[in-house]
Amino acid sequence: MSLLKDRARGCLLGLAAGDALGAPAENMEPAQIREKWGRLTEIEGGGTDDTEYAIFAASLLVRHGHDLTSDDVADAYRREIIPAVLGPMKGAGFSELGTVSALRRGLEPPMTGMIHAHGWSDGLAMRAAPYGIFCPGDPAEAARLIEQDGLVSGEGEGINGGRAVAAAVAVAMSGAAPGEVVRAGLSAIPQDSWTARTISRALPLKDSPEGLHEAVVIRHYPWTDLAPEAVALAFAAYLHGDGEVEESVTYAVSLGRDADTIGAIAGAMAGAGRGEAGVPGRWAERIGPATGKCLPVVAGKHVLDVADELARRL
C-alpha cells in the first residue's frame, strides 16, 4: 500500500473513531466524564454528523478535485442534501440547517453562510480532514480548497477553524512531527482571529483539562459547537498525545464539550500521521459503513473506501 493511501485511511479511520468514541461524552464536563467512565476508551455506538459530513466533503473532492468552487458545493446541497430533508434534518449542526434554509430562500454563497447566525460553527472543522488528505504537504492549498466549502455554510471563525484543521491534516499527511502540524494549522489563519487566540492560549495548558476549559470555553453560552473552542481543544489534545492516535483521541473526548467533534479532529490529525495501523484495531472493528442518519446520501459508504477513493486521485 502506498504511504499516502495508508495515511488517508488512518486519517478517516481516526476521524470516525474519535467521532464515535466522543459521541456519548458530548456536552459533559471533564469531571462528569471521569466519574462515569474514568477514561473513556471504548467505542459504545456509531458515529455522528462528523463522519457523514466528512464523507460528503470527500465526494465533492472526488468529483471536482482542485477546481471545486462554492457554487459546486451549493449545487451538491441542492441536489443531494435538500431533497432528502423531508421533515426535521436529523443530526445536522446549526450551520448546515441554516444553510439549507438560506438555499431554500434562493440565496447563493457566500450569503448562504452569512445570513444565519452560526458562522462560527465547528461544522467545517469537523469535515476538514478530506481536504487535508487531498493536499498532502500543501497546507495553503488545503486551506484554500476547504474555504470553498466553508463559504456555503460558514463565515469568519467557522472558516478559520476549517482552514486550520485542513492545513494541519495536509502537513500531518507528510509525516511531520505534531508541533509542526499544529504550527501549520495556526499559519493558515489570521493571527488576529478568535481561533488563533484560543489555540495560542490552549497549547501551553494542553495537559490540564480544567486549565484548557478556563482558557478557551465561553462560560455564559449554552452551546458547545464553537469552532474557536473545538479546534483549540483538539489541537491541544493532539499535542498532549504527541500525535499518537489512542492517547490523543481518548484525551480529546475526556475534555467534553463538543466531544465527538474534538475527538474526530484529533483523530484525523493523529491518524494521518500514524497511518491505518496507528488506529487501535478494536476501534477499527467498530467502524462500519455510515448509516446515513444525518445525511442519507452517504448511507452505506465506509470511511476506508472513501480514503482509497481520495488516495487514487493523489
Partner: protein
C-alpha cells in the same frame, strides 16, 4: 435637534420594550428565585399533563409591580448608556465587569468576561458567540440622540452585523431627532448597511416585503417568512431586529402606535424588535405622540437587569442628555 424627539426615542424604546412578551420574563427576575423555579416546574407539569394554561410567571406573595406592563432589559441598558455617555466606553464596561448582580445579553456578558480576562476591544466584541446580537444597537439609540458615532461603544460587545446594526440605529435616530422623516431616517440607516452584509441583505428584503404588504400589521406574516430564523430562534440577532424596525418605521410613516404593535406580533423577535421600532418611531413622532398610558407605564425602570436603576424615570434621563 429636538428635545421632544430625543425623549420620544427613549420613551418609545421603553414602550416597545414593554409591549413585547419577553418583558414579563425579564421583569420576573425581580421576584424570588423560587418563583422562577416553580415556573419551570409548572412548565414541566403543563407539558406532562397536556394542559395549556400554566406557563405564566408564578408570583404568590411576591411584589406585584413586576407583573404590570412595564419596561425591562432594553430600556435599562439604554438608560445606563445615557448615564455613562460622557465616560470612556471601555472604562464604563470595565466598571461593570466585576459585578455579579447584572443581567445582560450573551454578547455583553461574554464581553465583560473577555475584558476581565485582559482581552481588549475590538477582540472583546469579536471573540464572542453572540457578536451579531443587537445589544449595541439598543445602546446606539443614545449615541444617535446626541449625534455621536456608536462604533467604539459597539465594538466592546459586538462585531460584524452587531456593529453595523448599531451604526444603522444611531444614523436613523440622529436623522429623526434632527427633524427628518421616517423615510429619511431609514435612508440614513441603509447607508450604513453594506449590500454584501447579512444585515444589509435583510434590511433591503424587509423593506421590499413590507412595502408590498402596504402596512405595518399587514406585513407581519411576510416579515416572519422572509427574515425570521426558524432553525434556531435567535431572538436578538441585529441582522433581523434592526431590519424589522426599519421596515415597520418606514411603512407606518413613523407612527409608533402602528409600528410597535406589529413588531410585538413577531413572537420570535419580540424581545427587542418592538423596542428598536419604538425608538425609531418615537424619534420620528416625538414624546407627545406616545399614548399617555403607555408612556406612564414604560417610563419607570424596573431594575431587572441593572438593579441601581430601579425606580429611575427614563424621561429625566433622556432630558439629561437632550
Amino acid at each position: 435637534m429636538s428635545g421632544d424627539r430625543i425623549t420620544g426615542a427613549f420613551v418609545g424604546l421603553a414602550v416597545g420594550d414593554a409591549a413585547g412578551w419577553p418583558a414579563a420574563r425579564h421583569r420576573a427576575a425581580l421576584h424570588a428565585p423560587w418563583s422562577r423555579r416553580l415556573h419551570r416546574e409548572l412548565d414541566a407539569f403543563a407539558e406532562e399533563h397536556r394542559v395549556t394554561t400554566l406557563p405564566v410567571p408564578f408570583a404568590l406573595n411576591q411584589p406585584t409591580a413586576p407583573l404590570a406592563v412595564g419596561p425591562s432589559d432594553d430600556a435599562e441598558w439604554l438608560a445606563w448608556t445615557a448615564l455613562t455617555l460622557s465616560q470612556d466606553r471601555v472604562r464604563a464596561f470595565v466598571d461593570l465587569s466585576g459585578r455579579d448582580d447584572l443581567r445582560a445579553r450573551i454578547s455583553v456578558t461574554t464581553a465583560l468576561g473577555n475584558l476581565r480576562g485582559g482581552l481588549e476591544p475590538p477582540a472583546s466584541g469579536h471573540d464572542n458567540p453572540h457578536f451579531f446580537d443587537d445589544a449595541a444597537a439598543v445602546r446606539a439609540v443614545a449615541f444617535g440622540a446626541v449625534g455621536q458615532d456608536p462604533t467604539r461603544d459597539a465594538q466592546i460587545t459586538n462585531a460584524g452585523d452587531g456593529v453595523l446594526g448599531a451604526r444603522a440605529m444611531a444614523a436613523a435616530v440622529a436623522e429623526a431627532v434632527s427633524g427628518g422623516s421616517a423615510a429619511l431616517a431609514v435612508e440614513a440607516a441603509l447607508a450604513q448597511l453594506p449590500e454584501d452584509s447579512a444585515i444589509g441583505v435583510n434590511a433591503r428584503a424587509a423593506l421590499r416585503v413590507t412595502r408590498k404588504a402596504g402596512g405595518a400589521f399587514a406585513a407581519v406574516p411576510a416579515l416572519d417568512a422572509e427574515l425570521i430564523d426558524h432553525v434556531y430562534s435567535y431572538a436578538v440577532s441585529a441582522a433581523v431586529t434592526v431590519p424589522v424596525a426599519l421596515a415597520l418605521a418606514e411603512v407606518s410613516g413613523g407612527s409608533l402606535v402602528e409600528a410597535v404593535p406589529a413588531a410585538a406580533c413577531l413572537a420570535a423577535v419580540a424581545d427587542s424588535a418592538p423596542a428598536l421600532t419604538g425608538a425609531l418611531t418615537g424619534a420620528c413622532g416625538g414624546y407627545r405622540v406616545i399614548p399617555e398610558g403607555w408612556a406612564a407605564s414604560a417610563r419607570r425602570l424596573a431594575g431587572c437587569c441593572l438593579p441601581e436603576l430601579a425606580g429611575r424615570d427614563l424621561l429625566d434621563i433622556s432630558e439629561g442628555i437632550a
